[in-house]
Amino acid sequence: MRSLLASGLLLLGQFAQAAGVVHEYQLDNGLKLIVREDHRAPVVVSQVWYKVGASYEHDGITGVSHVLEHMMFKGTDDYPAGEFSRIISENGGSENAFTSKDYTAYFQRLEKSRLPVSFELESDRMRNLHLLDKEFDKEINVVMEERRLRTDDKPTALTYEQFTATAFMSSSVRIPTIGWMNDLQNMELSDLQHWYERWYAPNNAVVVVVGDVDPEAVYKLAKQYFGSLKPEEIVPPKPRIEPEQKGRRDVTVRAPAEVPYTIMGYKAPVLATAELDWEPYALEVLANILDGGSSARLTRDLVRGSQIATSAGAGYDLYDRQAGLFLLDGTPAGEHGVAEVQQALFEQVQSLKDEPVSAEELERVKSAVVANAVYELDSTFYQAMKIGQLETAGLDWRLADKYVERINAVTAEQLQTVAKKYLVEEALTVAVLDPLPMETGQVGHTASNGGGHEH
């Protein structure tokens, strides 16, 4: 086993160096540019990351970062609504944007010679967005449809939203990225204007470029397009550190559903907040011991062993900006209920505290991490994502290259230590999806000859 891990590390070392030369630049206006060379194919991915997302928001305007992301496609004076997407499309590009707790990011994938098209359009909308009522009135409806699609009509997503808002009372981790529906209904154009002016500036942005490019040429291009943009004074949001939890919290979500579900989480530090910087890596390994593939404990013991659950998982994000949760979830099998699934999950947690993880299990997790680091190099988009996530969490992108090393340094003893320290009932929140009966059924059927336009 040891030789396998060692040979994997050797492979990774050789290829990561060849494939992943990274260059970092900073423009005079504060814009950070990070370029990663990948010469396997004549393509480039360009991403503009802004340090703003739902965790920067407060009650009353939840969802504003994400609505603004939608409005960023609605035009500037030079490129009115629709032009951005039309131009990218005509250049053979694919594009979109995504918003999360800690960032709002815009991307294009293009043939490598088209990078200036991306920079021209992105630099324009970084400072010159022209927010118009007539576009906002339509787009806010699109966002409300998105909320219905992603959350309101998905019982497990609805449960997760209420679970998170229960686990955190003060920390803005509680805010759903899509926004509460009532806040969306009461959102105004001025909220967006204010948000745009406050956060969209070169000194609050990181441009990440990965692909078949010459870094110096990209730097020159960045200076040409982004160099003249005016910086803003960026005032970071208040810290809103979550007060210490004093006991288990429970929440029940009753919604029309067919299958019950439970999710639970323990408060846990992340890399950006941890006092001991090995702890987040240990928590990451712990999540993999439980749920790092089909041979990991939860599937082995709950799905295939006792068969109490049809699925069970664990999760932890070490790259978040604020302290979050170590998550466990499960769906009961057959006649078993959520209480049995919860009990089984608690037993798993207890066993992590009581007994050291075997050398074999630890080795398996590490081998998978090493191999994954190679597989990730097959996607330029993913490489760019990693860099952007770290930077917007207030971390250094170089940590991505340290990941394998840090994971490999984790010991069985450290796993036991973090399990005992963080997986404790005082810091636990538990949510249950309690299905309400779903009435469904056919209400109408018409067949007609040649009648394509009934409405």
Binding site: G8, A19, V43, L110, S295, S367, H455
Partner: protein, 435 residues
């Protein structure tokens, strides 16, 4: 698996793109026992991807919906005397990824591994075990049957899923594309273990297999890999051709109540098949109508102009026989009539007049200019190899693709759409709550 809808090609932009791209050099051979192999050497990263696809999708279920799905699911749940736990544990200790899956036309087993011998060889042994010697243990079968039943019940929570499978049921009628690949509560409960073994013995055979390989290994190593993985598989017989899909004769509309805030709409009909003579006019034309992401007509009319839906699109899913042409959207319950009427009007207008010359040029630029993006990674190339191999497409398919796209005219699009897309016989499925 949703097959890649966008197939790129190359030459058109030779005048505008600064460099000619290296096309992946596809090597093809047939093994002694009849499997078709497609291989691209990719030495840049120390990894290997292998996909073995069998004509063993739900189209072969023969009245027992879910049979292909259950067979595929059981493959790595015990093989060559190793338990599911042992297989998973050994695979994951190697850092390898071994997955199985199935859809209507096909079922597949995939392996991704580091390419050095210490990792690849033991991974291939496990891969071969799963393909050649699945054990079909009773206890694993019972458990996976229960998991499938819960997954089906959970999927009933999603109005989009209900609309999707109802569309297939209604549109394909008695054709084997109609039933849900995952099966239904009733059909899964009725399946017997022995039927899985029979299904496996019939369809998981060499002549029914397409092997795709992309990675850091030379031709000789690729041949050895193929021999190791399926050299001992019985030759068997290739599955019979999927029967042609009958065209619909009349429109039908079905409304299903669902306790949701949104109503999901699926509208369409059998569309086209792989290698269809109308493939290019239909594909390029649909890019203008609803396939072109954020710039299509449907997107513009339904979302940009009216804010009625978060996602709205249309696409052809070419399969061995005519896969669906499907237009989709979802909207607040009280707006469904308006949204549906905009969608229908947009389609009708496109059928009447086709794309404008400007729209056609813009779509061609997007499709052909985006070509390098679509073969940029090993996993992209693996998917193309599988489509080319499984559907017997010519080996130069990628190389001539852009030429074929560029050759499409406005008139060809109008003609092809008017012959092939008929709103007067479309199925419309509407799933959602009360106003």
């Amino acid at each position: 698996m949703r097959l890649p809808m966008l197939l790129g090609g190359l030459l058109l932009w030779a005048a505008q793109l600064p460099v000619a791209f290296a096309m992946p050099g596809i090597q093809h051979w047939v093994t002694d026992n009849g499997a078709r192999v497609y291989y691209v050497q990719a030495p840049e990263l120390p990894m290997v991807d292998v996909n073995i696809t069998f004509a063993a999708g739900s189209v072969r279920d023969d009245g027992q919906a879910g049979l292909a799905h259950m067979t595929s699911t059981l493959l790595d749940m015990g093989a060559a005397g190793l338990s599911a736990n042992e297989i998973a544990s050994r695979v994951e200790s190697l850092g390898a990824e071994l997955t199985t899956g199935s859809a209507r036309d096909m079922a597949w087993v995939k392996l991704r591994s580091l390419s050095d011998g210490a990792h690849l060889q033991p991974a291939l042994t496990l891969f071969a075990d799963v393909i050649n010697s699945p054990d079909f243990n009773k206890s694993d079968f019972k458990r996976e049957r229960e998991r499938t039943l819960v997954a089906i019940r959970r999927s009933e929570q999603s109005p989009g899923t209900v609309a999707g499978y109802t569309f297939f049921n209604q549109t394909y009628g008695d054709h084997p594309y109609a039933p849900r690949p995952s099966g239904t509560i009733e059909s899964i409960a009725a399946i017997k273990l022995g039927e899985l073994e029979k299904f496996y013995a019939r369809y998981y055979v060499a002549r029914n297999a397409v092997v795709s390989i992309v990675g850091d290994l030379d031709r000789k190593a690729a041949e050895q890999l193929v021999d190791q993985v399926i050299g001992k598989l019985p030759a068997g017989e290739r599955a019979a051709a999927v029967p042609p899909v009958p065209q619909l004769k009349s429109a039908q509309q079905q409304r299903i109540f669902h306790p949701s805030a949104q109503t999901h709409v699926r509208m369409g009909a059998p569309g086209m098949h792989r290698g269809d003579p109308d493939y290019f006019p239909l594909y390029v034309g649909n890019h203008v109508l609803g396939g072109g992401g954020l710039v299509s007509r449907l997107h513009n009319e339904v979302r940009e102009k009216r804010g009625l839906s978060y996602s709205v699109n249309s696409y052809f899913s070419p399969m061995e026989q005519d896969g669906p042409y499907l237009l989709s959207l979802q909207t607040r319950n009280d707006q469904v009539d308006e949204a549906l009427s905009v969608m229908r009007d947009t389609l009708q207008k496109f059928l009447d007049k086709g794309p404008t010359e400007d729209e056609l040029v813009a779509s061609k630029k997007n499709i052909t200019g985006g070509f390098p993006l679509r073969i940029a990674s090993n996993s992209n190339i693996l998917d193309y190899l599988n489509v080319i191999g499984f559907y017997d497409l010519p080996l130069d398919y990628l190389e001539v693709f852009n030429d074929r796209v560029m050759a499409v005219t406005r008139e060809q699009i109008v003609d092809a759409f008017q012959r092939r897309v008929k709103p007067e016989t479309m199925t419309t499925i509407i799933v959602g709550g009360d106003d």
